[in-house]
């Protein structure tokens, strides 16, 4: 799990439940609420996208908004590559993320149940 690794590398804290619970949980990542709000607006609530852009720009600056838009675009790509080719999680990643996957119930995601 890259989020946990990147936070540990900086000696900071993170609540990984924010990945599945969204803005209901404080991730402890600076600007995390506005970043998650942008993702949720883009993927689930486009009617709130203008406000989400404004909130993120106010919190972290317009450059952060442009960067976040790119990251969303990148992972809109990556999830479709994974889903459409049926790749499994890499062995090393599976080993080191076993606890996170259980805690966040990632193995109950639809794509995980349709691997074959």
């Amino acid at each position: 799990m890259m989020l946990r690794g990147s936070v540990q590398q900086r000696g900071d804290e993170v609540d990984l439940q924010a990945i599945v619970a969204g803005t209901e949980v404080d991730s402890h990542v600076p600007g995390g609420e506005q970043l998650i709000e942008l993702v949720e607006a883009a993927l689930q609530h486009p009617e709130t996208l203008a406000q989400a852009r404004s909130n993120l720009s106010a919190a972290l600056g317009p450059e952060a908004l442009v960067d976040a838009a790119g990251v969303i675009g990148n992972f809109q790509r990556m999830v479709r590559i994974a889903d459409s080719t049926g790749i499994p999680v890499d062995a090393t990643t599976a080993d080191i993320t076993e606890d996170i996957r259980a805690d966040l119930k990632l193995n109950e995601f639809v794509s995980a149940r349709l691997e074959t």
């Binding site: 486009p46 600056g61 990148n74 790509r77 990556m78 080719t85």
Partner: protein
Amino acid sequence: MSETFTYADVGYDIPAEKVTAYRGAWSYIARPGNWWSGSERVAIAATARAAVDCELCAARTAALSPLAVTGVHQEANRTDAAAGLLSAAVIDAVHRIRTDSARLTGSWVTELINDDFSYGHYVEMVSVIVTLTSIDSFHQVLGVPLEALPAPEAGEPSRYLPPGAAIDVAWVPMIYPENLTEADSDIYFGAPRMGNVIRALSLVPDAVRDLHSVSSSQYVPTPQVMDMSASGSLRLTRPQIELVAARTSALNDCFY
């Protein structure tokens, strides 16, 4: 050809790395590939773009099972030059990958493959869809108009099939680093191991090259991904980047 991705008067300072990568991606979509002509690739991109507003796809996405909803994809209103170039089966596949990818299955992919539609066709089709998706999503998030699709380049597909590809852990053939030939030795940067999400497109080596190019501008360059302090050219910190990545994946119901 007029200049693309100028971002004039959009209100944001779009980094040069992104502009260069996006222009390269448009060129990638426009030219003949290994299995599809330039016209067919642009048609795939146009179809993927149209799928976002497809009523059949919306009904399927809302249904308990996508197979429970039948009908015709919203192609009838298409007036662009790309309309009519693709078979109904390919159009359906493009729509499913664009709008409901989490519920695809290996048996669905296997049933698509036949004498006229190889795994190479499938992987290259996926590559065009996801390239279009990544760049259109960037525009959508910023509220910037979508870029007009490129004019297709003339020419025939090469039908190049890289040696060493085999089906093992995925639904499609992939290449391990040790099986790369000299012609494609660049696609994993010489690394002895490579993540499955990169290997997934290796049946079409140019698809991997395109992935690296766009991904490096939107995320972290592939060789730096496992360096947890790396953030590439982005101004966000790596934890901020990964929070956005993880939430995007979760909302797509993606376990990977």
